[in-house]
Amino acid sequence: MTAIEKVIDHGIYILGPEVQDFEKRFASYCGTRFAVGVADGTSALILALQGLGVGPGDEVITAPNSFAASASSIALLGATPRFVDVRRQDMNMDPALLERAVSARTKAIVPVHLAGLPADMEPILKVAERYRIPVVEDAAQAVGTTYHGKRTGALGQAGCFSLHPLKNLHAIGDAGVIVTDDEHLYTWLLKARNHGLRTRDEVEFWSRNTRLDTLQAAVLIVMLEHLDEWIEERREIAAQFRTGLRDLVGVPEEAPGSFHTYQTFVIVAEHHRNALLDHLQRRGVDAKVHYPVPIHMQPAARGLAHEPDDFPMAHWLADRIISLPIYAEMTSEQRAAVIEGVRSFYKGMGA
């Protein structure tokens, strides 16, 4: 509240000093030259893609098992989302399948770091480089995640983050941020989020208003101080879950070089997923599924005319995954209740 009151005192609600201050801190956290605060994570994706020239008639490659915004941001620019199936081990874009999705119209690749686990960026970047296609990381669920020592968001041409209240780094409302080393993209983004204004009286190009609220920036500056601490807490809880559940269900594992931040802790129940989900919820364990319907099977994707098995792993996972509750403030009783919740289900099954 102190941070909020400071904003009220100076009264600069639109692109006030806190926005720049947060951008500076966040860029340095990610290890990029620039950061641009925007209104939300979806706007971050839309602006980054638009800034790299994506428009009608283009294709953009992404993963089908993400939140809908990964694809809707592409479709809303008039481009066509092209999905690449995911791998069992990290639930992220399978680099081995990427190349065959590339066409003459591919304008960008949007790997998603789902749940806080990094996509396997090295082979993805190799394909991108071979075809000279920019990579925009959808790091909406992966603030603080690292891949071979580099923060996600800093690996491609641009990285897009959501800072929604349920994220590791969160505002108290909608907020987003784009990071990049590309100065040209950066200066375009500064104008694009603010009506295309070059100065107060001069509009360089028609654009929208997708600014990060100063109030939210003030909150984010405070939250950023705690981020690494919260991530450590989550990793500790995740380690307990892993040990406690490994013999019964699939648990997330870090490949060498990848640092998971556990935005969600996703298990794979090969059998009776819905029964397990019911069982957990009945016991008061607030488990969810992210996401039960893959993007390619959403009503909104009907124009793409996909079959469920066009992306068999995404389809297979959608019927078997469960996100267990995980957050830094979880007490040891709550942690034990989650583990016991899953174990008791299998005990009941006679496992």
Partner: protein, 368 residues
């Protein structure tokens, strides 16, 4: 004495601030930050204030315009008519949906010249966006009649005009849809960005609610590709307190405008726009036309009076408009106004003494 244009420090010294902070503390405890109950309360209350069935809170006024156009399925290949002297976002919203802005010149009240709309209509025209620019309601009866005759939609840009009315009917209740902005420097405002689309059309309202929230019917089903353009719950908390005061604040702006009008009536170098009685002007901007503008601005600045210009370059002469094929001379009224308009501070937090001081200095400048 200093007569500030930006009054935010005064606004937040006002009685509401503590109450709002308490409301925000209460919101933080509930954690309902995404379309929480305060958003729904705000939507209900703004709807009853304007007299429209549906209000959909959005992230900004520009988003409200974009959503309104999209709800009408306006896009690539379509043309949308608007006035040439408005804030950039009106044209920005038209371009954002893929349509082409077609500009119309303005009248002596800085409003769209309703007589000139018909000449701008083509086979591709889908909608007219009259802007209630400066807070003055546009000539809605005439505009609605032109739209009806040609089968066009009307989207009111009421971004500068919450609290304004034409013949007692609030702006926002005339067109098929209307957009409001709640930027901090408006009588209806939030502490950052916020906006709202209003409409009486059930179908449009349903689509708007889906689209502003990722197209989600429920958490797991996406009916259409949508976007995130929600009004922040935190800002709705602010708006709900501010709604109680909008009427008083607009009344105070009107009172100040009358004083300035009277004080400058006998200064021949200053031209005041007509003040038709049937239009309740919310006076978002108090704009006069005057001789020796640059000198006047300099003089006022030296006397600590923060006057501004809205705006020195009309839309068709902006770099962004280069592809639209317009030239200087296409909109003579707007171009002439751009050369001699001045916006004087006219906000609700000015004291009578400050208003007198300002009037006195404008008069003094021309009598030197």
């Amino acid at each position: 004495m200093r007569v500030p244009y930006n009054y935010l420090d005064r606004q937040f010294g006002s009685v509401e601030t503590e109450a709002i902070l308490d409301d925000i503390r209460a919101l933080v405890r509930t954690g309902e930050f995404t379309i929480g109950p305060p958003v729904l309360e705000f939507e209900r209350r703004l709807g009853s204030m304007i007299g429209v069935k549906h209000v959909v809170g959005t992230n900004t006024g520009t988003d409200a315009l974009i959503l309104a156009l999209k709800a009408l399925d306006i896009g690539r290949g379509d043309e949308v008519i608007t006035q040439v002297n408005t804030f950039y976002a009106t044209a920005g919203a038209i371009v954002a949906v893929g349509a082409r802005p077609v500009f119309v010149d303005v009248d002596d009240q800085y409003a769209i010249d309703a007589r000139k709309i018909e000449a701008a209509i083509t086979a591709r025209t889908k909608a007219i966006i009259p802007v209630h620019w400066t807070g003055l309601p546009a000539d809605m009866p005439t505009i609605m009649e032109v739209a009806r005759r040609h089968g066009l939609y009307v989207v009111e840009d009421a971004c500068a005009a919450a609290g304004a009315a034409y013949d007692g009917k609030p702006v926002g209740s005339f067109g098929h849809l209307a957009a409001f902005s709640m930027h901090p420097l408006k009588p209806l405002h939030v502490w950052g960005d916020g906006g709202a689309v209003v409409t009486g059309d059930d179908r449009a309202a349903r689509w708007l609610r889906l689209y502003r929230n990722h197209g989600m019917v429920n958490r797991d089903e996406i009916e259409i590709w949508g976007i995130n353009q929600r009004l922040q719950t935190l800002q709705a908390v602010v708006a709900n307190r501010v709604l109680d005061r909008v009427r008083d604040w607009v009344d105070r702006r009107i009172e100040i405008a009358r004083r300035i009008d009277a004080g400058l009536a006998d200064t021949p170098q200053v031209r005041l726009p007509p003040r038709p009685l049937q239009r309740r002007n919310a006076f978002q901007l108090y704009i006069i036309r005057c001789e020796q503008r640059e000198e006047l601005l300099k003089y006022l600045a030296s006397e600590q009076i923060e006057a501004k210009v809205h705006y020195p370059v009309p839309l068709h002469l902006q770099p962004a408009a280069r592809d639209l094929g317009y030239r200087r001379g296409d909109f003579p009224a707007a171009e002439a106004q751009a050369e001699d308009i001045v916006t004087l501070p006219g906000h609700q937090f000015l004291t009578d003494i400050e208003v007198e001081y300002m009037i006195d200095h404008v008069r003094r400048f021309y009598r030197r």
